[in-house]
């Protein structure tokens, strides 16, 4: 690991000033950053430790009935907050399906939003990677790429965003509060992450010094709490990144879908909101044929970036299954059982 200067500011303005310098990076828990630094993938000159900044570790109701989550709230604390889990169960389910208990105890909400891709070529400093070193090429394009993107990718980069947490958040119109050199601003989570295009090194809208201070979910998102699920398909039962995941949130009245939210994980460089599929669902009966139509629409623009044609079909099936689970109702206990996607599906033997 390259050596660095360590600073621990005690106010947000001091943190922004320290992190705006070239080569500086924010450090929260470090569960992703230290791993990247040990591998020489990220080589900051200065770490700005934000863990002692005041007031960023609270979960609070907003005046309009939404919820505001400080950037330093730990993943496990958020997932186990009773009011939060009751109001936004798909988000709690996504949090608890991510990483391991140890990592969830350390990892922060703000850090999770900026989690880096797990593309093996990004991690291997001997490989060409336009994201790690712009202009060097993409060894994933003709390499081991069965887990890479099927939506929104470019010739320059086919990496996926690995976050579980972001998938239901983007479905539920989460908003990110950012403090920066020019003051405070808000960005819809859906707009925070960038698709690769010709500049895969640019992963988010954040500018040097920008600090995510909080995340908000609107009050309207509570309308989906009775029919909300997150389903994650992995290559082992637990403690693995998603091959494909989906968050489905339905507002069902008398068997009809009054409103719907749908997003996919593991398929693109950003958490993928399926707006067109939602339109298919709204007004339809909450049944298998509507779910299948929504799945077709959601993946209409998908194309394989390598040996991953299967992910398109898998994503469709996961959408149908997640919508089916959501329509059946949010389980009394969240997570139903994140380790075993097979244990909680009616009609599928455990």
């Amino acid at each position: 690991m390259k050596n660095f200067e360590y600073v621990r500011p005690s106010t947000v303005p001091d943190a922004i000033a320290a992190a705006a310098a070239p080569g500086a990076a924010y450090l929260a828990s470090g569960t992703n950053l230290l791993d990247l630094m040990k591998g020489g993938i990220t080589r900051p000159d200065r770490l700005v430790d934000v863990t002692r900044l005041p007031g960023l570790d609270r979960i609070e109701r907003t005046a309009d009935g939404g919820i505001r989550i400080g950037a330093l709230v730990r993943n496990s604390d958020l997932a186990h907050d009773p009011d939060f889990a009751r109001s936004y169960p798909a988000v709690a389910e996504a949090l608890l399906s991510g990483a391991s208990a140890q990592l969830r105890n350390a990892a922060t909400v703000g850090g999770n939003l900026l989690q880096r891709t797990r593309c093996g070529y990004f991690y291997d400093t001997a490989s060409a990677c336009n994201k790690r070193e712009p202009g060097t090429g993409c060894d994933a394009r003709n390499g081991e790429n069965r887990l890479h993107a099927v939506l929104g990718w470019s010739e320059a980069c086919i990496a996926t965003n690995p976050s579980d947490f972001c998938v239901p958040l983007v479905a539920l119109d989460a908003v990110v509060e950012i403090e920066g050199r020019s003051g405070r601003r808000e960005v819809a989570l859906e707009a925070l992450h960038c698709l690769p295009g010709d500049t895969p090194e640019r992963e988010s809208l954040l500018e040097p010094g920008d600090l995510i201070v909080a995340l908000r979910l609107p009050a309207e998102a509570r309308a989906f709490s009775a029919h909300a699920r997150y389903l994650k398909i992995r290559e082992r039962t637990s403690y693995a990144f998603a091959v494909v995941s989906a968050a489905a949130c339905l507002w069902v009245e008398a068997g009809k879908i009054r409103d719907a939210r749908l997003a996919l994980g593991g398929v693109a460089a950003k958490p993928w909101r399926a707006h067109a599929a939602e339109k298919v669902l709204v007004g339809a009966n909450a049944d298998a044929s509507a779910f299948r139509r929504a799945a077709e629409v959601a993946l209409a623009d998908a194309k394989p970036s390598g040996d991953n044609l299967f992910k398109i079909e898998l994503a469709k099936r996961i959408i149908v299954r997640t919508l089916t689970l959501a329509a059946a109702g949010t389980p009394a206990r969240i997570p139903a059982l994140p380790a075993s996607p097979f244990a909680s599906v009616s009609g599928v033997p455990a």
Binding site: Q102, L103, N105, T237, S238
Partner: protein
């Protein structure tokens, strides 16, 4: 910035002068404080061998920068027994053959102590397995580990009931 930090490790205050900010909590415990019970497996947060409790929460000490945890209360495997009396989780790992080579065991035990404190798994073996998935055992002692965690959890619950009765 001053890189001297102060930790409480297994109930004892330890002041450490760091020569370098890169030192992880894992390396600090092993190399500076001679507490080598905490193991370095992958050193990348994937195996759980380095699990310790920070302020009561289980974490991977290999991904914790020591300097960032100035003031923290750390519990390692060396601090869980009372003299010659094993912690109930340690005793249960022996009773249920929860290990073979033993390298992952300190991390498994610290993770199990954390898990029992979190009180999320109940007595459902499937939930225990899920909650222990951050600790790999390449000898494959998982069946014994699950039994040990269930047993120790019961022992601790009974002891707590007696204490509050």
């Amino acid at each position: 910035m001053n890189l001297s930090i102060s930790l409480t490790v297994n109930g004892v205050r330890r002041d450490v002068e760091l020569s370098d900010p890169r030192v992880t909590l894992l390396d600090l415990l092993r190399e500076r404080l001679d507490l080598t019970g905490t193991k370095k497996g992958c050193d990348r947060g994937q195996c759980g061998a380095c699990t310790v409790l920070i302020d009561g929460r289980r974490i991977n000490s290999c991904l914790a920068l020591a300097v960032s945890h100035d003031g923290a209360d750390i519990l390692t495997i060396e601090g869980v027994a009372r003299g010659d009396q094993l912690h109930p989780v340690q005793a249960a790992f022996i009773a249920h053959d929860g290990f073979q080579c033993g390298f992952c065991t300190p991390g498994q035990i610290m993770s199990a102590i954390g898990l029992i404190g979190e009180a999320q798994a109940g007595n459902d073996p499937e939930r225990i397995r899920e909650c222990m998935s951050g600790n790999l055992c390449r000898c494959g002692a998982y069946a014994g580990i699950t039994e040990a965690v269930l047993d120790a959890q019961q022992t601790l619950a009974t002891a707590n009931q007696r204490r509050s009765a």
